[in-house]
Structures are given as C-alpha cells and as structure tokens.
C-alpha cells in the first residue's frame, strides 16, 4: 500500500492519512458487525424476564440474573445441557480415535486404495450429511440406540470425521519422517517411536481438532432434533420450544449455546488457518 502511494510524490501524506482513516473506519465497522449482535444477545440474557419483553430497550444490561435463573430452572434445561455436553465429548473422543489413525496412514504410507479413501472422505463434503439422520433413526430403533446420547454421538462423529482425518493428516505431514526413523535406529519400535517422538509434537494440533469436533457436535441442530426425543440436547430442546417458549428462555438458551463456542474458538484460534489451509486441497 505504502509503495503504491510512493509512486505519486505529491500530497502523499494527505492521501495516506485520509486512506488510513477510511481503512480503519472500515475495520472498526466490520468488527462492530461481528460483535454488536453478540453483545445484544448478552444484554438480553443479563436482563430480568420483564425487561426482555419491555419496550423500548436501552441496550445496556441491568445485570439481573432473572432470565438465567428462569432458564436454568426450566423443566428439562439442565438435562439438555448435560446431554449436549455428553454427546459432544463422545463425538470428540470418537472422531479423534477413528480419524487420527487414518490421518496418520495417509501421511506416512503409499498404498493401493489411498486415492479411493481420500475420495470417500472428500465426497462426504458434497452431501448434506445431517439429512442422513433420517434413515439412521430407523436403524437405531432396530439396534436399540434410538434416543440415546451414544447414537447421536455416532452421527455427529460422521460429520466430524472428514475434518479430523484431513486435519490430522496435515498435522502428521508436518512432522518429518526422519525424526521417526532416528527413533527406530535408536532401538524404538514403531509404536514406541510414535509415542515418544511423534505424539508429543502433534498433541496440540490433535487437541485443536478434537475441540473442533466438539463444537461441530455442540452446534448441530437437525440430526439432534431428529434423533432425540426424551434425551434432547440443548439445540434440539431450543428448536422444539422456539414456538412456545417465552423470549427470555430463547435468549438465555442462545447465550448458553454461544458462550462455550466462543471459548473454544478462542482456544483453537491459532490452528484455525492451518486447518482450513488443508481444507483447500
């Protein structure tokens, strides 16, 4: 930017200052576009139940915990929160346990069928995956997994596996094979070399992709609503009660969905671009 401005010697500082101001005004505007709606949700959540339906609104929270108390004491909310957490943790564990070995195999070996497997993983991208919950619901009734956190976690794992395979693939690819080979020559077998050399190096990346799987499950609405009846997750619970529940319940519920997600995105922010960098290929 500055180099281009230097081509025009006259009034450089003027153009530069005005351009800079416009640029930063744009940046502030874009940040406000992202942050203000979240702030407004927080305002509603931190207001008493009467204030939420009152008019006009000031846009300043009264820090009344009425809405939150109402939300937490509402029939079924705590159970829904617990179910969401349980399903998300199960999804996280399953998607890494199943996805990471595949990612390792893709990064370390050349073998017939590799291209086919990659194709299968990439193909899942072109499919509206949550819709597969419809036939899976029938399948689960047959095997007794219907309306269970485990069943839903299995479906959410399907959503998360393409990501965990591709992410772990790129993480393992970033570790030079020579490090592993050095461990082998020093007397480690494959498993020991993996545990002592590779694992400590990839652990942060794996954690990031696990957290990513957690948020996929935590946020998923459609499959959760299809597959749970008595054991609703928070998203399914909120969706079902949207048309009948009071506003303050919806806003507090929205905040309950948003806050953990914010924390998790903050935790994995460093890896966000590494993850989507591979998603390009």
């Amino acid at each position: 930017m500055s180099a281009a401005a230097a081509d025009r010697p006259r009034a450089v500082s003027d153009i530069g200052a005005a351009g800079k101001f416009l640029f930063w005004a744009g940046v502030v505007l874009l940040c406000a576009w992202v942050l203000v709606p979240i702030y407004l949700l927080v305002v509603n959540t931190l207001s008493s139940t009467a204030e939420v339906t009152a008019f006009p609104k000031t846009g300043i929270p009264s820090f009344d915990l009425g809405s939150i108390q109402f939300f937490l004491s509402f029939q079924g909310v705590l159970k829904a929160l617990w179910n969401s957490l349980l399903v998300a943790v199960l999804t996280m564990v399953l998607s890494i346990a199943i996805g990471a070995p595949a990612g390792y195999a893709l990064s370390r070996f050349e073998f017939p069928g590799k291209a086919t497997f990659r194709m299968l993983v990439l193909m899942t991208r072109a499919f509206p995956l949550p819709l597969l919950a419809l036939p899976i619901a029938v399948m689960f009734i047959r095997v007794g997994l219907d309306d269970t956190p485990v069943g839903l976690a299995l479906v959410h794992t399907t959503l998360a596996i393409p990501f965990s395979v591709l992410i772990t693939f790129s993480i393992f690819s970033g570790i030079p094979l020579e490090l592993e080979e050095a461990a082998w020559t020093l007397g480690c077998n494959r498993l020991q070399a993996f545990g002592k050399v590779v694992l400590p190096l990839v652990l942060p990346g794996i954690t990031a992709s696990a957290i990513f799987a957690f948020t996929i499950s935590w946020n998923e609405v459609f499959a959760a609503s299809v597959l749970t009846v008595q054991n609703r997750t928070l998203t399914a619970f909120l969706l079902q009660s949207l048309s009948v529940s009071p506003l303050h319940l919806r806003f507090a519920g929205g905040a309950a969905l948003v806050i953990p997600a914010l924390i998790f995105i903050f935790a994995v922010r460093k890896y966000m671009f590494a993850m989507w960098g591979i998603a390009n290929r």
Binding site: C31, V34, N44, P56, A105, A126, L257, R269
Partner: protein, 281 residues
Amino acid sequence: MNSKTLPYLLLAPATVFLAVFFVWPFLQIAYLAFTTEGGFTLQHFETMAGNWKFWPTFWNTIILAAIVVPLQLVMALTMAQVVAKLNTARNTILYIFTIPLGLSDLAAGIIWLAIFEQSGFLNSMLVGLGVVERPILFLGYQNLWVIFVAVILAELWRATAIVMVILVSGMGLIPKEYYEAAEVFGAGPWQRFVKVTLPMLRPSIQTALILRTIAAFEVFAVVVALGGTTLPVLVGETFNWQFALQDRSVAAAYALVILAISIAATLVFLRLLRTPKGATV
C-alpha cells in the same frame, strides 16, 4: 505388523464407520424415496411436488442461497484483503472476524431475533430516532420480505467467516514475487487484486463456494428461529414431513432433492472454476 498391512489396519475404523453411517444411510434414503412395498415408484416425488408448498419452498431455498453466497464471497474477499493489509492488531482482528465460525445456526437465528422481534433492538432504535411511532411487527406473515432480509443478514453474519478463513489461508499461498512483478509493471492496487489475487485464489474460491452453497441449501434453524414456519425452506419441509406429517418416504424424497441440487452446484463450481493444468503454485 509390517508396513504392507499397517496402513489398512489404520484406515479400517474410519472406512467401516463411513460405510455404516454415510454410504448405507444414503442408500437407505434412495430406497425409501423410490419404493413402495418393495416395488419401484415415483409416487413419493409426485406427492412432494404436488403439495402446494413444494415450489415456494424450493425457490425460497434457491433464492436465499443465490443472494447469500455471492454477497458472502464479496464480503469475505474484502475482509481477507483488510487482514492482508494489517500490520498492527492483525491477530486480534482476525480472531474477531472468525468468531461467528464457532456459532451454531440456531444461536445466530436467536441473536438476530433479539434485533428483529417486536420489542427488539431495531424497533427500539427506530422509535428512539423518531423514524416510526410504534414498534413494527417485522417477523409476521404480512412482512415475508422482512423475514427474508433477516434470514439473509443472519446468514451473512454467521457464515461469512468460514469463506474468509478459506480465502485468507489461500492468500497465504500466493508468492510475494507475483505482486512485486505486477508492481514493477505498473499495476495499481486494484489491478493487482484483479490480475494477481483473484486468479491465484481460484482453488480457494472454488472450495469456499462449494462448501458454502451446500450449507446454504441446508439452511434450517436460522429460518425457524426468525420466522417459524412462515418462510418454508427445504430442510424445514423435510423435518415437517418426517414428524408432523409422518411420511418418511416423502421426507426422503425431499432429502434427495437437497442432495441433487447440492451435487449440481458442486459440479458447476468444479467446472466453472477449474484450475488449468500446470497452473498451481
């Protein structure tokens, strides 16, 4: 364990999992949609298309995607360019831009509900500024277009981040020399953007468009949170046929329609934005 069988052992869990929870349910959906008591039929598709709600639903979904996705591409390109120009506070601003990436569509719908509902923040502002005298009922069936606008804003707000992240990581792959060469030949900032950035970014734009378009066809929770059933969309109708109308075959037919337009969009983008051979970085 030798290195012949090891990769297959590592891939086995993921392959089995995808076969059971991706390939099999997909075949099940096709079977449900095309058969009745064991024989082939198009009856379920006729029931689906014969319902008065089908075509409005279909076009609502297509028009929403056709408006949202191009706007998102423009916004994301702007944000990515802004990030590329930043020296100070780059990481903070990048984090703020990516926040919506971690939020669920349901939460986004609830957040924009806080703005658009009758006692919400938009009405508070309009009345406060004296633009209108009494709060307007924005999200009623009389104002279908306002619901449309609200859904578009919520989708732009929530899902532009993913496009931006893909583009930012794509821009990181463009060699600096290309820009320097363009500058030597006298290209201004806009020319550099059109002649260097856009062509080099082609694979990333392709990935982003495919991912976003498929997700846009799956729009559901945002619409339900903002408009209930006033604005029908394809996934919402799928849900409706599965539960309210209890016809799983028609629901499966709907799912296949979503799948068909998703695959069609993917093929169009693959063809339109294919990278010429030998032109990769």
